[in-house]
Amino acid sequence: MIDWPLVSVIIFLPLIGALIILFIKEDELTSINIKWAALLTTLGTFILSLILWLQFDYSNPSYQYEEKFRWFDDFNFFYHVGVDGISLFMILLSTFLTPLCILASWNNIKKRVKEYMLSFLFLETVMIGMFASIDILLFYIFFEAVLIPMYLIIGIWGGNRRIYASFKFFLYTLLGSVLMLIAIIVMYRNTSSMSIEFLQGNYFSYNTQLFLWLAFFASFAVKIPMWPFHTWLPDAHVEAPTAGSVILAGVLLKMGGYGFIRFSLGMLPEATEFFIPLIMTLSIVAIVYTSLVALAQTDIKKLIAYSSVAHMGIVTIGIFLVNQQGLEGAMMQMISHGLVSAALFLCVGVIYDRMHTREIEFYGGLVQRMPLYATVFMIFMLGSVGLPGTSGFIGEFLVIVGAFKVSSYVVIGAAFGIILSAVYMLYLYKRIIFGTITNNKLADILDINTREKIILIPLAISVILLGIFPNLFLDPMRLSLELIITNYEIANAK
């Protein structure tokens, strides 16, 4: 094992990079230095996080690389971080996507480069910190701190309605998370502990669980987002700059799913059992309704945003099936969606950078001028649809297999959603890529350049890798998920 505080280094390396950038003076010439500093920091973080994976002990279901320091003298609040099978890939997803985001904004962010890079590095620190926290208050601090950089990213570098979108994003998510704060304090009052590990074996009385569950639900359902709490998402996605959408779809939405697994399933099993029908209903409505809404969109980004809500519906179904296939499927779906939707937003960014519009009508026949672009876009589009061989298939397949054990109605709902996802994605692809170029402005559009290849090709490779070798990802998380399911079943059998 590693005897230096690897997790803390991964958490705070971006922050150190941010501090260095803070002292680089910004002008026309030096803004390139800022970009390089940010890129190198995030790449370094990614490489370090790969060590986490390589050194990961697959046979240990609980936390590894733990670090624990007493923080507050007056109550049991620790700086306690570590990684287990569930958080490992969430951290990897964050560290993998952030350098790509920085690369994606290399040329199209022209104003306030310094603040932009600072926001992204700060964002990376809090994202990793949140997934690595084993202390519930530490989790909360990171969870809320995410709002600050994201608010700035949407508000400063966003589109025309960025102010509306940024306020909606901030206030909506804040409203959810403050209720979680109350729940955390109630938990602390009942157990005198803030350790996630401890709370996962220590259950509250049934009525307390119901209230706590609702409070956590408020924050995670907004974050993931579930219908009908999703309305902030299309606005935030459409107005955010490309890299902002990538992080939003790729990582921030996963915070909700991660929270459901850790807190709702892990700590409040009896209440979860009670609320499962609610979640299933909301998820199925979300899948069908947002798929239909996505079909009607005229803005590419908005379409992908609604498809995110639908995909997250499959994740929530998988989580609340509470069996091995369901949870593994949900985790795979989260990782896959993190890669695929991030890549789709990047693809939209590619043509947006060239044409400065996201209207579907504007495009058509891009394959004539951009064959390479059409190819990578197709890989991600098929990943989103869930074609076998891509990452999307594994998640959806496992969720449906798990759902058969529970209820065939859920299966019908989920399968219907998957069909609809094929409909709107293929329809989108047809309208943008196929056909002949009818719009004269597209006549001399250029294919993807080297920088864009560097961004999109690793994503395409990992989407296919995930689809062909899912065990690479499923093995490390299996035991941690099993532990949660066993605890859940013991608690409900009592």
Partner: protein
């Protein structure tokens, strides 16, 4: 014990009283630079007073037959008030010189008002409490109206005076009822007398309600807050800064002591009043601030909101509540010192900044200043990892310890509403494109810079070593 008659001068209050007179004379006989020199002397005097309070010198003697009390809670709040007063004198010095208001009486008025506050915090008797409140308020009435040739300053002074006198009258009437029904003015005696009864009789309830009204006026809790925005707006900015930072500390300490010492056994009676004040303050503070365009009015409503949170901790009425109040008050003071240190140094077209919309484009011309304002605003909104979050966090811990679930949920909801107007300031600085650049300039003296830097340091770095403040506040007894 008192060994030497000269030791009497080492009692902090007596020391401060004597030094204030010295400052007054000093200013009077000084020909040049009277304002600047008196301010410096006042800061020095206050620093010495802090040392004396910290050393706890001659504390037994200072009780004056229980007119005043002595405890760690009192000392903590005294030091907080003194620190706030030092900070506000230092940050306002350049502002006063800038608007050519060089009356050396201003620092002396601040000294007298601070003296009043120290007595207020320590008072253990209805009579000494009233006198202390009056000493504090009279100095502030004059300070609000100090800019004699400005109509708005005079208006704010008169408004403050009339409403303040009214509330003092109500307070005094409440005192007389309490005295009439218990036969004593001393907090401990009242408490002892009341311990024989299970519930308060009608006269005492009336007395309690009247006193609560008077105190609610002093802390500017809704519905007795009407004076706050107007006085904040009318008074010169630096006086507003003093109003926002210091008197609140003393008034909060006083309302805590009044509820928890003589009436500790009648929690049910006073907690209902405080509960209402708290909820009303939080929501009115949050909602009314949204529509403000004047930064001083906005900060007035923001301070009303903050008072609401501190009153939650009072409703909790346990040890955690006292701890929460002291941490919250500390964070409140730090954040207000920081924001006023910036406001008093920002000029738009050679006028000191008043309108929020004038902050437009600040992030371009002064990136560091706008970053600081953003951090302060996020901290005030209670977003982690800044100190404001921990203030709110401890308040909610105290409330949940007492099973006040509904109140806590209302509290967090109000904090979400209030986040809106704090974010609006960040939005104006960062998101709005400004056409006219370079009209804002930020000029800050070295001393204010140190104060600003220290308070920002505390706001940001509290999270790294919280135990220092928390251990102190956990050990406080009322």
């Amino acid at each position: 014990m008192l060994n030497n008659i000269y030791n009497i001068f080492f009692i902090p209050e007596i020391f401060l009283a004597c030094s204030s007179f010295v400052c007054l004379l000093f200013g009077l006989f000084l020909k040049k630079n009277a304002f600047r020199q008196t301010s410096n002397l006042a800061v020095f005097v206050l620093l010495l007073t802090i040392l004396l309070v910290y050393n706890d010198s001659e504390s037994n003697f200072a009780n004056y037959k229980s007119l005043f009390s002595h405890s760690s809670f009192i000392n903590f709040f005294k030091i907080l008030a003194l620190l706030g007063s030092i900070a506000s004198i230092i940050i306002s010095k350049d502002y006063f010189l800038g608007i050519k208001l060089k009356n050396f009486e201003i620092p002396v008025l601040f000294l007298f008002s601070t003296l009043g506050m120290m007595l207020m915090i320590a008072s253990n008797n209805l009579m000494s409490m009233y006198l202390a409140i009056e000493l504090q308020s009279l100095s502030l009435y004059v300070a609000a109206a100090i800019k004699r040739d400005s109509i708005s300053s005079a208006e704010s002074g008169v408004k403050y005076f009339i409403l303040g006198a009214l509330s003092s009258g109500i307070l005094l009437y409440g005192f007389s009822l309490i005295y009439g029904f218990t036969g004593s003015m001393n907090f401990d005696d009242i408490s002892f007398y009341l311990s024989k009864y299970d519930n308060l009789n009608l006269g005492l309830i009336f007395g309690l309600v009247f006193v609560m009204v008077g105190l609610a006026f002093k802390v500017s809790a809704v519905p007795f807050h009407m004076w706050t925005p107007d006085v904040y707006e009318g008074a010169p900015n630096s006086i507003t800064g003093f109003f926002a930072i210091v008197p609140k500390i003393a008034a909060v300490a006083l309302i805590y002591r009044f509820c928890l010492v003589p009436f500790e056994n009648f929690y049910l009676e006073w907690s209902q009043i405080i509960l209402f004040l708290s909820i009303a303050s939080m929501f009115l503070g949050a909602i009314a601030a949204i529509a403000q365009s004047n930064i001083k009015r906005l900060l007035a409503y923001s301070s009303i909101g903050h008072i609401g949170y501190i009153l939650i901790a009072l409703v909790a009425a346990n040890d955690d509540g006292i701890k929460a109040a002291s941490i919250y008050m500390f964070s409140y003071m730090i954040m207000n010192v920081a924001i006023f240190a910036i406001l008093l140094s920002l000029k738009v077209k050679n006028e000191y900044l008043i309108n929020i919309s004038d902050l437009k484009g600040l992030s371009r011309s002064n990136p560091i200043v706008s970053l600081s304002i953003s951090i302060i605003m996020l901290s005030m909104a209670g977003i982690p990892p800044f100190i404001g979050f921990f203030g709110k966090f401890y308040v909610f811990i105290a409330a949940i310890e007492q099973e006040l679930y509904v109140l806590s949920v209302l509290g967090v909801l109000a904090s979400v509403i209030s986040a809106f107007y704090y974010l609006r300031i960040i939005k104006i600085m960062y998101f709005d494109e400004s056409k006219s650049e370079g009209i804002i300039n930020f000029k800050i003296s070295f001393q204010s810079k140190i104060i600003l830097f220290l308070s920002l340091f505390l706001i940001i770095c509290f999270i790294f070593y919280p135990s220092l403040l928390i251990n102190i506040s956990a050990s406080l007894t009322i």
